[in-house]
């Protein structure tokens, strides 16, 4: 299955800018399925981790109040071309995904 993580990186000097979009429903557990009228179970990313060359730079903890298809943008210092940035997430139902990209 293709990764549901989309990432754009930009390196200027030793600063990496990360823009990432994760395809995930982020269900609150309070929404009713319009067809069945039943509640759609709570299903959301709990933790999203960015690691550069194996070292965590950012750990984002989410509740259901982060919008569907979570988006995050941040920058960090100390990056260089060739570094491997790894993005991974876990959700409350045990789902998980990861993606690696090389900074350039």
């Amino acid at each position: 299955m293709a990764s549901k993580i989309k990432i754009k990186t930009r390196l200027s000097d030793d600063v990496a800018e990360i823009k990432s979009l994760i395809l995930h429903p982020m269900e609150t557990g309070a929404r009713k399925d319009p067809d069945t009228g039943e509640l759609v179970p709570r299903h959301h990313i709990t933790q999203l981790i960015f690691a550069n060359n194996g070292e965590a730079v950012m750990v984002a903890n989410f509740s259901t109040a982060v919008s569907r298809n979570p988006y995050i943008n941040f920058r960090f210092r100390g990056a260089k071309a060739g570094d491997t940035l790894r993005v991974s997430w876990v959700d409350n139902l045990g789902g998980t995904d990861e993606l690696e990209t090389v900074l350039s």
Binding site: V57, Y71, R77
Partner: protein
């Protein structure tokens, strides 16, 4: 300012119940108690060990004044404070006020953009934890169409 303080003070009574978690335990563990709390003050207490924050002009909280769609409210939190350890976003009137908390490692610029859901018009608070204290600023966002939060 006043509303923000009251919001914080509400959780004060529960402080006594809190057992301060060792810092190391919080790192890399999803702070369930904080996220499931239905009160913003209690959520902060569960997350940071206290709900008392120092208001700071050195935090910028960018949010729309009016959010037409509460399901997608763009938010940017930045700060010129140094040695930032975490940035958290609390939406006072959401059923579960703590929306997100970002653990900032050394080298990361304390400036983060994301998108959150807002159930209704509410004060939104950005809480920045540094090695010297816990700081905050807040802003009211009017929500036209509530996003199930």
């Amino acid at each position: 300012m006043q509303a923000g303080r009251r919001f914080l003070l509400k959780g004060g009574a529960a402080l006594a119940l809190l057992v301060a978690l060792p810092k190391a335990l919080l790192a890399a563990v999803w702070p369930q108690k904080a996220f499931l709390s239905t009160d913003g003050g209690l959520a902060l207490s569960a997350l940071l060990g206290t709900n008392q924050t120092i208001r700071s002009d050195e935090i910028t909280l960018k949010l729309p004044e009016i959010a037409e769609n509460g399901a997608v409210v763009p938010v940017t939190v930045g700060t010129s404070l140094e040695n930032v350890e975490s940035i958290s976003i609390v939406v006072e009137k959401n059923p579960r006020p703590l929306a997100a908390t970002f653990e900032i490692m050394p080298g990361v610029f304390p400036n983060i953009s994301s998108r959150i859901k807002m159930a209704e018009t509410s004060r939104v608070m950005a809480v920045v934890k540094t090695d010297s204290g816990i700081y905050s600023t807040s802003k009211v966002v009017k929500v036209t169409l509530g996003g199930c939060a």
